[in-house]
Protein backbone atom coordinates (compact mmCIF):
# COMPACT_ATOMS: atom_id res chain seq x y z
CA UNK A 1 0.00 0.00 0.00
CA UNK A 2 1.52 3.29 -1.17
CA UNK A 3 0.10 5.51 1.52
CA UNK A 4 0.95 3.40 4.55
CA UNK A 5 3.29 5.95 6.14
CA UNK A 6 0.65 8.65 5.79
CA UNK A 7 -1.93 6.73 7.81
CA UNK A 8 -0.64 7.70 11.29
CA UNK A 9 -1.29 11.30 10.22
CA UNK A 10 -4.49 10.78 8.29
CA UNK A 11 -6.37 8.68 10.86
CA UNK A 12 -6.23 11.25 13.69
CA UNK A 13 -6.85 14.07 11.18
CA UNK A 14 -10.10 12.50 9.98
CA UNK A 15 -11.09 11.62 13.53
CA UNK A 16 -10.43 15.17 14.68
CA UNK A 17 -12.63 16.58 11.94
CA UNK A 18 -15.47 14.14 12.53
CA UNK A 19 -15.36 14.79 16.28
CA UNK A 20 -16.21 18.46 15.68
CA UNK A 21 -19.71 17.37 14.67
CA UNK A 22 -20.41 15.50 17.90
CA UNK A 23 -19.50 17.95 20.63
CA UNK A 24 -22.79 17.41 22.43
CA UNK A 25 -22.54 13.65 22.65
CA UNK A 26 -19.70 12.95 25.07
CA UNK A 27 -19.97 9.16 25.03
CA UNK A 28 -19.78 9.04 21.26
CA UNK A 29 -16.78 11.38 21.37
CA UNK A 30 -14.97 9.13 23.81
CA UNK A 31 -15.63 6.05 21.74
CA UNK A 32 -14.65 7.69 18.46
CA UNK A 33 -11.45 9.20 19.78
CA UNK A 34 -10.53 5.98 21.58
CA UNK A 35 -11.04 3.93 18.43
CA UNK A 36 -9.11 6.37 16.30
CA UNK A 37 -6.21 6.47 18.75
CA UNK A 38 -6.10 2.71 18.87
CA UNK A 39 -6.20 2.61 15.07
CA UNK A 40 -3.30 5.06 14.99
CA UNK A 41 -1.29 2.78 17.27
CA UNK A 42 -2.03 -0.19 15.00
CA UNK A 43 -1.12 1.57 11.74
CA UNK A 44 2.03 3.07 13.24
CA UNK A 45 3.03 -0.43 14.38
CA UNK A 46 2.58 -1.58 10.78
CA UNK A 47 4.75 1.31 9.58
CA UNK A 48 7.41 0.30 12.11
CA UNK A 49 7.44 -3.31 10.91
CA UNK A 50 7.45 -2.24 7.29
CA UNK A 51 10.45 0.05 7.84
CA UNK A 52 12.23 -2.72 9.76
CA UNK A 53 11.64 -5.10 6.86
CA UNK A 54 12.14 -2.95 3.78
CA UNK A 55 14.17 0.04 4.95
CA UNK A 56 13.22 3.69 4.54
CA UNK A 57 9.74 4.32 3.16
CA UNK A 58 8.92 7.44 1.18
CA UNK A 59 5.73 8.92 -0.15
CA UNK A 60 5.62 11.70 -2.75
CA UNK A 61 2.47 13.66 -1.96
CA UNK A 62 0.35 14.63 -4.99
CA UNK A 63 2.65 12.39 -7.07
CA UNK A 64 5.23 15.18 -7.32
CA UNK A 65 8.46 13.28 -7.11
CA UNK A 66 11.26 14.41 -4.76
CA UNK A 67 12.81 16.95 -4.67
CA UNK A 68 9.98 18.92 -6.34
CA UNK A 69 7.02 18.03 -4.19
CA UNK A 70 6.58 17.45 -0.48
CA UNK A 71 7.94 14.05 0.44
CA UNK A 72 7.04 12.11 3.53
CA UNK A 73 9.93 9.99 4.70
CA UNK A 74 9.71 7.33 7.33
CA UNK A 75 13.07 6.05 8.44
CA UNK A 76 13.57 3.99 11.57
CA UNK A 77 13.80 7.02 13.86
CA UNK A 78 10.57 8.53 12.53
CA UNK A 79 8.76 5.22 12.64
CA UNK A 80 9.83 4.57 16.24
CA UNK A 81 8.85 8.05 17.38
CA UNK A 82 5.50 7.94 15.58
CA UNK A 83 4.80 4.61 17.23
CA UNK A 84 5.70 5.95 20.66
CA UNK A 85 3.72 9.14 20.15
CA UNK A 86 0.66 7.10 19.22
CA UNK A 87 0.98 4.85 22.27
CA UNK A 88 1.47 7.76 24.64
CA UNK A 89 -1.42 9.72 23.23
CA UNK A 90 -3.60 6.62 23.53
CA UNK A 91 -2.62 6.29 27.19
CA UNK A 92 -3.24 9.97 27.89
CA UNK A 93 -6.60 9.69 26.14
CA UNK A 94 -7.68 6.79 28.36
CA UNK A 95 -6.62 8.83 31.35
CA UNK A 96 -8.58 11.84 30.08
CA UNK A 97 -11.85 9.88 29.97
CA UNK A 98 -11.94 9.80 33.76
CA UNK A 99 -10.27 13.03 34.67
CA UNK A 100 -10.63 15.83 32.17
CA UNK A 101 -14.19 16.81 33.06
CA UNK A 102 -17.29 17.40 30.96
CA UNK A 103 -16.70 21.09 30.60
CA UNK A 104 -13.57 20.56 28.55
CA UNK A 105 -14.98 17.55 26.73
CA UNK A 106 -17.77 19.71 25.34
CA UNK A 107 -15.32 22.29 24.06
CA UNK A 108 -13.58 20.20 21.43
CA UNK A 109 -11.04 18.62 23.79
CA UNK A 110 -10.92 15.29 21.96
CA UNK A 111 -10.91 16.91 18.56
CA UNK A 112 -7.96 19.14 19.41
CA UNK A 113 -6.22 16.20 21.00
CA UNK A 114 -6.36 14.36 17.68
CA UNK A 115 -5.07 17.43 15.82
CA UNK A 116 -2.14 17.57 18.22
CA UNK A 117 -1.31 14.00 17.29
CA UNK A 118 -1.56 14.96 13.60
CA UNK A 119 1.02 17.67 14.15
CA UNK A 120 3.37 15.48 16.15
CA UNK A 121 3.22 12.49 13.82
CA UNK A 122 3.49 14.78 10.81
CA UNK A 123 6.57 16.53 12.18
CA UNK A 124 8.20 13.14 12.79
CA UNK A 125 7.37 11.87 9.32
CA UNK A 126 7.90 14.77 6.95
CA UNK A 127 11.00 15.02 4.80
CA UNK A 128 10.54 18.65 3.81
CA UNK A 129 11.87 21.48 5.94
CA UNK A 130 8.97 23.86 5.29
CA UNK A 131 6.44 21.11 5.80
CA UNK A 132 8.13 20.53 9.14
CA UNK A 133 7.27 24.16 9.96
CA UNK A 134 3.66 23.58 8.95
CA UNK A 135 3.34 20.48 11.12
CA UNK A 136 5.03 22.35 13.96
CA UNK A 137 2.33 24.98 13.65
CA UNK A 138 -0.46 22.39 13.58
CA UNK A 139 0.97 20.94 16.75
CA UNK A 140 1.48 24.34 18.38
CA UNK A 141 -2.00 25.61 17.51
CA UNK A 142 -3.50 22.52 19.13
CA UNK A 143 -1.23 22.94 22.12
CA UNK A 144 -2.36 26.57 22.54
CA UNK A 145 -5.96 25.42 22.66
CA UNK A 146 -5.26 22.52 25.02
CA UNK A 147 -3.27 24.82 27.26
CA UNK A 148 -5.97 27.43 27.52
CA UNK A 149 -9.00 25.11 27.52
CA UNK A 150 -10.81 25.51 30.79
CA UNK A 151 -9.90 29.18 31.06
CA UNK A 152 -8.67 29.34 34.62
CA UNK A 153 -6.60 32.36 35.53
CA UNK A 154 -3.26 30.60 35.65
CA UNK A 155 -3.94 28.99 32.27
CA UNK A 156 -4.78 32.31 30.61
CA UNK A 157 -1.73 33.95 32.11
CA UNK A 158 0.72 31.23 31.16
CA UNK A 159 -0.66 30.60 27.69
CA UNK A 160 -0.03 34.24 26.73
CA UNK A 161 3.66 33.77 27.42
CA UNK A 162 3.74 30.36 25.78
CA UNK A 163 2.13 31.69 22.60
CA UNK A 164 4.42 34.71 22.50
CA UNK A 165 7.55 32.58 22.79
CA UNK A 166 6.31 30.24 20.10
CA UNK A 167 5.32 33.03 17.71
CA UNK A 168 8.83 34.41 17.94
CA UNK A 169 10.42 31.04 17.39
CA UNK A 170 8.08 30.38 14.44
CA UNK A 171 9.05 33.69 12.86
CA UNK A 172 12.70 32.73 13.30
CA UNK A 173 11.93 29.37 11.73
CA UNK A 174 10.51 31.09 8.64
CA UNK A 175 13.56 33.35 8.52
CA UNK A 176 15.92 30.38 8.78
CA UNK A 177 14.07 28.52 6.03
CA UNK A 178 14.24 31.66 3.87
CA UNK A 179 18.02 31.94 4.32
CA UNK A 180 18.52 28.27 3.64
CA UNK A 181 16.37 28.37 0.51
CA UNK A 182 18.29 31.34 -0.86
CA UNK A 183 21.52 29.36 -0.64
CA UNK A 184 20.59 25.81 -1.56
CA UNK A 185 17.44 26.49 -3.59
CA UNK A 186 15.51 23.50 -2.32
CA UNK A 187 13.40 22.49 0.64
CA UNK A 188 13.59 18.72 0.49
CA UNK A 189 15.80 17.74 3.41
CA UNK A 190 17.65 15.01 1.54
CA UNK A 191 18.25 17.38 -1.35
CA UNK A 192 19.41 20.16 1.01
CA UNK A 193 21.83 17.72 2.61
CA UNK A 194 23.23 16.83 -0.80
CA UNK A 195 23.63 20.46 -1.84
CA UNK A 196 25.21 21.45 1.47
CA UNK A 197 27.83 18.73 1.13
CA UNK A 198 28.46 19.78 -2.48
CA UNK A 199 29.39 23.28 -1.33
CA UNK A 200 31.10 21.82 1.76
CA UNK A 201 29.17 23.85 4.37
CA UNK A 202 30.60 27.37 4.13
CA UNK A 203 30.30 29.78 7.04
CA UNK A 204 26.86 31.05 6.08
CA UNK A 205 25.40 27.55 6.37
CA UNK A 206 26.87 27.30 9.85
CA UNK A 207 25.12 30.56 10.75
CA UNK A 208 21.86 29.06 9.51
CA UNK A 209 22.58 25.92 11.52
CA UNK A 210 22.88 28.02 14.66
CA UNK A 211 19.64 29.80 13.77
CA UNK A 212 17.92 26.42 13.48
CA UNK A 213 19.48 25.45 16.79
CA UNK A 214 17.86 28.51 18.40
CA UNK A 215 14.48 27.76 16.82
CA UNK A 216 14.43 24.10 17.83
CA UNK A 217 16.12 24.88 21.12
CA UNK A 218 13.21 27.15 21.98
CA UNK A 219 10.71 24.40 21.20
CA UNK A 220 12.81 21.71 22.82
CA UNK A 221 13.67 23.75 25.94
CA UNK A 222 17.45 23.74 25.78
CA UNK A 223 19.44 26.07 28.05
CA UNK A 224 19.16 29.09 27.93
CA UNK A 225 15.90 28.86 25.97
CA UNK A 226 13.95 26.75 28.45
CA UNK A 227 12.69 29.66 30.57
CA UNK A 228 9.09 29.42 29.33
CA UNK A 229 8.70 25.73 30.06
CA UNK A 230 8.29 25.41 33.84
CA UNK A 231 5.52 28.02 33.94
CA UNK A 232 3.59 26.87 30.90
CA UNK A 233 3.61 23.16 31.61
CA UNK A 234 2.52 23.81 35.16
CA UNK A 235 -0.83 25.27 34.10
CA UNK A 236 -2.93 22.60 32.29
CA UNK A 237 -4.50 19.45 33.81
CA UNK A 238 -2.52 16.21 34.13
CA UNK A 239 -3.23 14.41 30.83
CA UNK A 240 -2.46 17.57 28.83
CA UNK A 241 0.67 18.09 30.89
CA UNK A 242 1.68 14.50 30.22
CA UNK A 243 1.24 14.77 26.48
CA UNK A 244 3.05 18.11 26.39
CA UNK A 245 5.92 16.83 28.47
CA UNK A 246 6.19 13.59 26.57
CA UNK A 247 5.73 14.82 23.02
CA UNK A 248 6.17 18.56 22.41
CA UNK A 249 9.72 19.09 23.63
CA UNK A 250 10.67 15.80 22.02
CA UNK A 251 9.57 17.11 18.62
CA UNK A 252 12.06 19.96 19.08
CA UNK A 253 14.78 17.50 20.03
CA UNK A 254 13.91 15.26 17.09
CA UNK A 255 14.25 18.25 14.76
CA UNK A 256 17.68 19.06 16.18
CA UNK A 257 18.64 15.44 15.71
CA UNK A 258 17.40 15.42 12.14
CA UNK A 259 18.85 18.75 11.02
CA UNK A 260 22.20 18.33 12.74
CA UNK A 261 22.82 14.83 11.47
CA UNK A 262 21.33 15.24 8.01
CA UNK A 263 21.71 18.87 6.98
CA UNK A 264 24.65 20.29 8.88
CA UNK A 265 27.07 17.48 9.71
CA UNK A 266 30.15 19.02 8.09
CA UNK A 267 31.23 21.69 10.57
CA UNK A 268 30.84 19.74 13.79
CA UNK A 269 33.80 21.49 15.40
CA UNK A 270 31.67 24.62 15.73
CA UNK A 271 27.97 23.75 15.75
CA UNK A 272 28.17 20.56 17.74
CA UNK A 273 30.54 22.20 20.21
CA UNK A 274 27.87 24.81 20.91
CA UNK A 275 25.25 22.12 21.20
CA UNK A 276 27.45 20.19 23.59
CA UNK A 277 27.95 23.16 25.91
CA UNK A 278 24.25 23.97 25.79
CA UNK A 279 23.37 20.36 26.54
CA UNK A 280 25.61 20.24 29.60
CA UNK A 281 24.23 23.52 30.94
CA UNK A 282 20.71 22.21 30.28
CA UNK A 283 21.41 19.13 32.37
CA UNK A 284 22.82 21.22 35.21
CA UNK A 285 19.97 23.74 35.31
CA UNK A 286 17.38 20.99 35.01
CA UNK A 287 18.94 19.07 37.88
CA UNK A 288 19.16 22.16 40.08
CA UNK A 289 15.50 22.95 39.41
CA UNK A 290 14.42 19.38 40.07
CA UNK A 291 16.17 19.34 43.42
CA UNK A 292 15.19 22.82 44.53
CA UNK A 293 11.42 22.69 44.06
CA UNK A 294 8.94 21.26 46.52
CA UNK A 295 6.14 21.23 43.99
CA UNK A 296 5.65 17.75 42.55
CA UNK A 297 4.65 19.05 39.11
CA UNK A 298 7.67 21.33 38.95
CA UNK A 299 10.02 18.50 39.95
CA UNK A 300 8.89 16.34 37.05
CA UNK A 301 8.91 19.35 34.69
CA UNK A 302 12.55 20.06 35.53
CA UNK A 303 13.26 16.40 34.93
CA UNK A 304 12.10 16.92 31.34
CA UNK A 305 14.80 19.55 30.98
CA UNK A 306 17.43 17.16 32.32
CA UNK A 307 16.36 14.53 29.81
CA UNK A 308 16.43 17.04 26.95
CA UNK A 309 20.00 17.88 27.90
CA UNK A 310 21.03 14.21 28.02
CA UNK A 311 19.60 13.56 24.55
CA UNK A 312 21.15 16.73 23.14
CA UNK A 313 24.50 15.67 24.56
CA UNK A 314 24.25 12.41 22.62
CA UNK A 315 23.54 14.35 19.42
CA UNK A 316 26.49 16.66 20.02
CA UNK A 317 28.92 13.74 20.36
CA UNK A 318 27.79 12.60 16.90
CA UNK A 319 29.15 9.08 16.82
CA UNK A 320 27.19 5.98 15.91
CA UNK A 321 27.03 4.82 19.53
CA UNK A 322 26.06 8.17 20.99
CA UNK A 323 23.26 8.57 18.45
CA UNK A 324 22.02 5.08 19.27
CA UNK A 325 22.09 6.07 22.94
CA UNK A 326 20.19 9.27 22.21
CA UNK A 327 17.50 7.46 20.23
CA UNK A 328 17.13 4.84 22.92
CA UNK A 329 16.99 7.45 25.66
CA UNK A 330 14.56 9.62 23.69
CA UNK A 331 12.04 6.81 23.40
CA UNK A 332 12.55 5.75 27.01
CA UNK A 333 12.04 9.30 28.18
CA UNK A 334 8.87 9.96 26.17
CA UNK A 335 7.33 6.87 27.68
CA UNK A 336 8.37 7.32 31.29
CA UNK A 337 7.73 11.07 31.49
CA UNK A 338 4.17 10.51 30.34
CA UNK A 339 3.77 7.86 33.04
CA UNK A 340 5.26 10.10 35.73
CA UNK A 341 3.04 13.03 34.83
CA UNK A 342 -0.05 10.84 34.95
CA UNK A 343 0.98 9.43 38.33
CA UNK A 344 1.65 12.89 39.70
CA UNK A 345 -1.74 13.89 38.30
CA UNK A 346 -3.36 11.12 40.36
CA UNK A 347 -1.49 12.29 43.47
CA UNK A 348 -2.80 15.80 42.93
CA UNK A 349 -6.30 14.47 42.39
CA UNK A 350 -6.15 12.61 45.70
CA UNK A 351 -4.60 15.35 47.78
CA UNK A 352 -5.87 18.45 46.01
CA UNK A 353 -2.44 20.08 46.16
CA UNK A 354 0.87 19.84 44.38
CA UNK A 355 2.89 21.06 47.34
CA UNK A 356 5.01 18.17 48.53
CA UNK A 357 5.15 19.52 52.08
CA UNK A 358 1.39 19.03 52.42
CA UNK A 359 1.45 15.45 51.14
CA UNK A 360 2.49 12.40 53.09
CA UNK A 361 1.67 8.78 53.75
CA UNK A 362 -0.16 8.09 50.50
CA UNK A 363 1.07 4.52 50.38
CA UNK A 364 -1.12 3.52 53.29
CA UNK A 365 -4.30 3.89 51.27
CA UNK A 366 -2.95 3.67 47.74
CA UNK A 367 -0.28 0.96 47.67
CA UNK A 368 -0.72 0.35 43.93
CA UNK A 369 -0.08 3.98 43.14
CA UNK A 370 2.93 4.05 45.44
CA UNK A 371 4.68 1.03 43.97
CA UNK A 372 3.92 2.04 40.38
CA UNK A 373 5.42 5.42 41.11
CA UNK A 374 8.43 3.73 42.72
CA UNK A 375 9.05 1.64 39.60
CA UNK A 376 8.64 4.68 37.33
CA UNK A 377 11.04 6.67 39.51
CA UNK A 378 13.66 3.92 39.36
CA UNK A 379 13.27 3.76 35.60
CA UNK A 380 13.64 7.49 35.09
CA UNK A 381 16.71 7.63 37.30
CA UNK A 382 18.33 4.76 35.43
CA UNK A 383 18.66 1.94 37.94
CA UNK A 384 19.81 -1.26 36.20
CA UNK A 385 18.32 -3.21 34.48
CA UNK A 386 15.59 -0.68 33.66
CA UNK A 387 15.53 1.27 30.42
CA UNK A 388 16.96 4.58 31.69
CA UNK A 389 20.12 2.74 32.69
CA UNK A 390 20.77 1.22 29.27
CA UNK A 391 20.32 4.50 27.43
CA UNK A 392 22.69 6.30 29.75
CA UNK A 393 25.31 3.55 29.65
CA UNK A 394 25.46 3.72 25.86
CA UNK A 395 25.60 7.52 25.96
CA UNK A 396 28.24 7.80 28.67
CA UNK A 397 30.45 5.13 27.13
CA UNK A 398 30.36 6.80 23.73
CA UNK A 399 31.03 10.16 25.39
CA UNK A 400 34.20 8.80 27.01
CA UNK A 401 35.26 7.10 23.78
CA UNK A 402 34.98 10.33 21.84
CA UNK A 403 36.77 12.35 24.48
CA UNK A 404 33.79 14.29 25.88
CA UNK A 405 34.82 13.55 29.45
CA UNK A 406 33.10 16.48 31.11
CA UNK A 407 29.81 15.90 29.39
CA UNK A 408 29.80 12.20 30.10
CA UNK A 409 30.66 12.80 33.73
CA UNK A 410 27.84 15.30 34.08
CA UNK A 411 25.36 12.90 32.45
CA UNK A 412 26.42 10.34 35.07
CA UNK A 413 26.09 12.85 37.90
CA UNK A 414 22.67 13.91 36.66
CA UNK A 415 21.42 10.35 37.23
CA UNK A 416 22.10 10.71 40.92
CA UNK A 417 20.41 14.08 41.16
CA UNK A 418 17.40 12.84 39.19
CA UNK A 419 17.18 9.84 41.49
CA UNK A 420 17.28 12.19 44.46
CA UNK A 421 14.55 14.45 43.05
CA UNK A 422 12.10 11.67 42.21
CA UNK A 423 12.83 9.79 45.43
CA UNK A 424 12.13 13.01 47.32
CA UNK A 425 8.56 12.73 46.07
CA UNK A 426 8.42 9.07 47.04
CA UNK A 427 9.88 9.50 50.49
CA UNK A 428 7.96 12.63 51.43
CA UNK A 429 4.74 11.89 49.58
CA UNK A 430 4.26 8.17 50.09
CA UNK A 431 5.95 7.45 53.38
CA UNK A 432 5.21 9.08 56.67
CA UNK A 433 1.99 9.63 58.55
CA UNK A 434 -1.18 9.45 56.40
CA UNK A 435 -2.91 12.81 56.31
CA UNK A 436 -6.54 13.74 55.81
CA UNK A 437 -7.28 15.38 52.50
CA UNK A 438 -10.34 17.42 51.53
CA UNK A 439 -11.39 14.76 49.01
CA UNK A 440 -11.73 12.18 51.79
CA UNK A 441 -9.88 8.96 52.51
CA UNK A 442 -10.61 6.91 49.46
CA UNK A 443 -10.62 8.54 46.06
CA UNK A 444 -11.40 6.02 43.30
CA UNK A 445 -8.17 5.84 41.32
CA UNK A 446 -8.33 2.35 39.83
CA UNK A 447 -9.57 3.50 36.44
CA UNK A 448 -7.06 6.34 36.36
CA UNK A 449 -4.30 3.87 37.09
CA UNK A 450 -4.82 1.92 33.83
CA UNK A 451 -2.88 4.35 31.63
CA UNK A 452 0.22 4.91 33.82
CA UNK A 453 0.43 1.20 34.67
CA UNK A 454 0.36 0.38 30.94
CA UNK A 455 3.14 2.88 30.30
CA UNK A 456 5.28 1.62 33.19
CA UNK A 457 4.88 -1.98 32.03
CA UNK A 458 5.88 -0.88 28.56
CA UNK A 459 8.94 0.87 30.02
CA UNK A 460 9.98 -2.26 31.92
CA UNK A 461 9.67 -4.42 28.83
CA UNK A 462 11.56 -1.81 26.87
CA UNK A 463 14.45 -2.12 29.31
CA UNK A 464 14.40 -5.87 29.85
CA UNK A 465 13.72 -6.65 26.21
CA UNK A 466 16.74 -4.74 25.01
CA UNK A 467 17.76 -7.72 22.88
CA UNK A 468 14.57 -7.40 20.87
CA UNK A 469 14.68 -3.59 20.73
CA UNK A 470 18.34 -3.29 19.83
CA UNK A 471 18.07 -3.99 16.05
CA UNK A 472 15.48 -1.20 15.72
CA UNK A 473 17.67 1.27 17.57
CA UNK A 474 20.79 0.39 15.61
CA UNK A 475 18.91 0.71 12.34
CA UNK A 476 17.81 4.22 13.40
CA UNK A 477 21.33 5.19 14.48
CA UNK A 478 22.79 3.83 11.25
CA UNK A 479 20.62 6.14 9.16
CA UNK A 480 21.45 9.05 11.44
CA UNK A 481 25.19 8.54 11.37
CA UNK A 482 25.27 7.96 7.63
CA UNK A 483 23.11 10.54 5.82
CA UNK A 484 23.75 8.89 2.45
CA UNK A 485 21.30 6.12 3.30
CA UNK A 486 18.58 8.71 3.81
CA UNK A 487 19.51 10.72 0.73
CA UNK A 488 19.60 7.68 -1.53
CA UNK A 489 16.28 6.43 -0.25
CA UNK A 490 14.56 9.78 -0.84
CA UNK A 491 16.15 10.88 -4.11
CA UNK A 492 16.33 7.31 -5.44
CA UNK A 493 19.71 7.59 -7.07
Amino acid sequence: MTNLILLPILVPLLAGIILIFFTKNIHLQRWLSGISSLATVVVSAFVLLKVRQDGIQTLALSSWEAPFGITLVSDMLSALLVFMASIISFACLIYSFRSIGEQRERFYYYSIFQFLLVGVNGAFTTGDIFNLFVFFEVMLMSSYVLLVLGGTKIQLRESIKYILVNIISSALFVVAVGYLYSIVGTLNMAHISQRVSEINQPGIITVIAVLFLIVFGLKGAIFPLFFWLPGSYNAPPAPVMAIFGALLTKVGIYSIMRTFTLLFPHDTGYTHQILSVMAILTIITGAIGAIAYWDIKKIIIYNIIVAVGVIAFGISVMSYDSLAGSVFYLIHDMNIKAALFLLVGIMIKITGTSNLRKISGLIAHYPGLGWTYFLAALTVAGIPPLSGFIGKVILVRSGFEEGHYWGAAIVLMSSLLVLFSVMKIFINGFWGEPKDYPEGKKVPVNQLMIAPVLLVIFAIFYGLGIEAVQPYISQAAETLSNPDIYINAVLKE
Binding site: Y144, V174, N355
Partner: protein, 113 residues
Amino acid sequence: MEILMAFTIGILFMSATYLMLSKSLLRIIIGTGLLSHGAHLLLLTMAGLKRGAPPLLGEEAASYADPLPQALILTAIVISFGVTSFFLVLAYRAYQELGTDNMDRLRGTEGND
Protein backbone atom coordinates in the same frame (compact mmCIF):
# COMPACT_ATOMS: atom_id res chain seq x y z
CA MET B 1 15.57 46.62 -4.84
CA GLU B 2 16.94 43.93 -2.53
CA ILE B 3 18.75 46.60 -0.50
CA LEU B 4 15.53 48.54 -0.09
CA MET B 5 13.74 45.38 1.01
CA ALA B 6 16.52 44.61 3.44
CA PHE B 7 16.01 47.99 5.09
CA THR B 8 12.25 47.54 5.16
CA ILE B 9 12.61 44.15 6.79
CA GLY B 10 15.11 45.52 9.26
CA ILE B 11 12.79 48.34 10.24
CA LEU B 12 9.89 45.91 10.61
CA PHE B 13 11.93 43.64 12.86
CA MET B 14 13.14 46.63 14.86
CA SER B 15 9.65 47.99 15.47
CA ALA B 16 8.41 44.50 16.27
CA THR B 17 11.10 44.04 18.90
CA TYR B 18 10.35 47.45 20.37
CA LEU B 19 6.63 46.73 20.54
CA MET B 20 7.10 43.26 22.00
CA LEU B 21 9.23 44.64 24.78
CA SER B 22 6.46 46.96 25.95
CA LYS B 23 4.12 46.12 28.78
CA SER B 24 0.75 46.43 27.11
CA LEU B 25 -0.57 43.16 25.72
CA LEU B 26 -2.12 44.78 22.67
CA ARG B 27 1.18 46.34 21.67
CA ILE B 28 2.81 42.95 22.02
CA ILE B 29 0.26 41.42 19.68
CA ILE B 30 0.84 44.15 17.12
CA GLY B 31 4.54 43.48 17.55
CA THR B 32 4.08 39.79 16.75
CA GLY B 33 2.11 40.79 13.67
CA LEU B 34 4.96 43.03 12.47
CA LEU B 35 7.46 40.30 13.25
CA SER B 36 5.68 37.80 11.05
CA HIS B 37 5.31 40.42 8.29
CA GLY B 38 9.04 40.95 8.44
CA ALA B 39 9.70 37.22 8.29
CA HIS B 40 7.38 36.83 5.29
CA LEU B 41 8.97 39.69 3.39
CA LEU B 42 12.34 38.21 4.15
CA LEU B 43 11.25 34.85 2.77
CA LEU B 44 10.11 36.51 -0.45
CA THR B 45 13.25 38.62 -0.76
CA MET B 46 15.66 35.81 -0.01
CA ALA B 47 14.18 33.72 -2.78
CA GLY B 48 15.06 36.46 -5.27
CA LEU B 49 12.97 39.34 -6.61
CA LYS B 50 12.49 38.74 -10.30
CA ARG B 51 9.85 38.89 -12.99
CA GLY B 52 8.82 35.94 -15.10
CA ALA B 53 6.01 33.95 -16.59
CA PRO B 54 4.11 31.45 -14.47
CA PRO B 55 5.85 28.07 -14.63
CA LEU B 56 4.35 24.80 -15.91
CA LEU B 57 1.68 26.49 -18.03
CA GLY B 58 3.90 27.20 -21.04
CA GLU B 59 7.35 26.45 -22.33
CA GLU B 60 8.18 29.51 -24.44
CA ALA B 61 8.71 32.31 -21.93
CA ALA B 62 12.15 33.85 -21.55
CA SER B 63 12.18 33.49 -17.79
CA TYR B 64 9.96 31.93 -15.19
CA ALA B 65 9.00 33.07 -11.73
CA ASP B 66 9.84 30.78 -8.83
CA PRO B 67 6.47 29.57 -7.52
CA LEU B 68 7.86 28.12 -4.32
CA PRO B 69 8.40 31.31 -2.26
CA GLN B 70 4.87 32.38 -3.12
CA ALA B 71 3.46 29.10 -1.91
CA LEU B 72 5.57 29.31 1.24
CA ILE B 73 4.60 32.86 2.00
CA LEU B 74 0.91 32.12 1.50
CA THR B 75 1.16 29.22 3.92
CA ALA B 76 3.07 31.32 6.43
CA ILE B 77 0.56 34.16 6.13
CA VAL B 78 -2.38 31.86 6.73
CA ILE B 79 -0.68 30.38 9.76
CA SER B 80 0.18 33.75 11.25
CA PHE B 81 -3.36 34.95 10.51
CA GLY B 82 -4.69 32.06 12.54
CA VAL B 83 -2.24 32.50 15.38
CA THR B 84 -2.74 36.26 15.58
CA SER B 85 -6.50 35.98 15.72
CA PHE B 86 -6.25 33.30 18.39
CA PHE B 87 -3.87 35.50 20.34
CA LEU B 88 -6.24 38.47 20.04
CA VAL B 89 -9.21 36.50 21.32
CA LEU B 90 -7.07 35.07 24.11
CA ALA B 91 -5.85 38.53 25.10
CA TYR B 92 -9.42 39.80 25.17
CA ARG B 93 -10.49 36.86 27.32
CA ALA B 94 -7.48 37.28 29.60
CA TYR B 95 -8.26 40.97 29.98
CA GLN B 96 -11.82 40.17 31.02
CA GLU B 97 -10.77 37.41 33.37
CA LEU B 98 -7.65 38.90 34.92
CA GLY B 99 -8.66 42.54 34.71
CA THR B 100 -5.36 43.77 33.33
CA ASP B 101 -3.35 43.85 30.14
CA ASN B 102 -0.15 44.85 31.85
CA MET B 103 2.47 42.14 31.48
CA ASP B 104 4.07 43.16 34.75
CA ARG B 105 0.96 42.11 36.58
CA LEU B 106 0.76 38.82 34.72
CA ARG B 107 3.85 37.40 36.33
CA GLY B 108 3.44 33.94 37.79
CA THR B 109 4.67 34.37 41.33
CA GLU B 110 1.98 32.77 43.42
CA GLY B 111 2.59 29.24 44.63
CA ASN B 112 6.20 29.11 43.50
CA ASP B 113 7.83 28.09 46.68
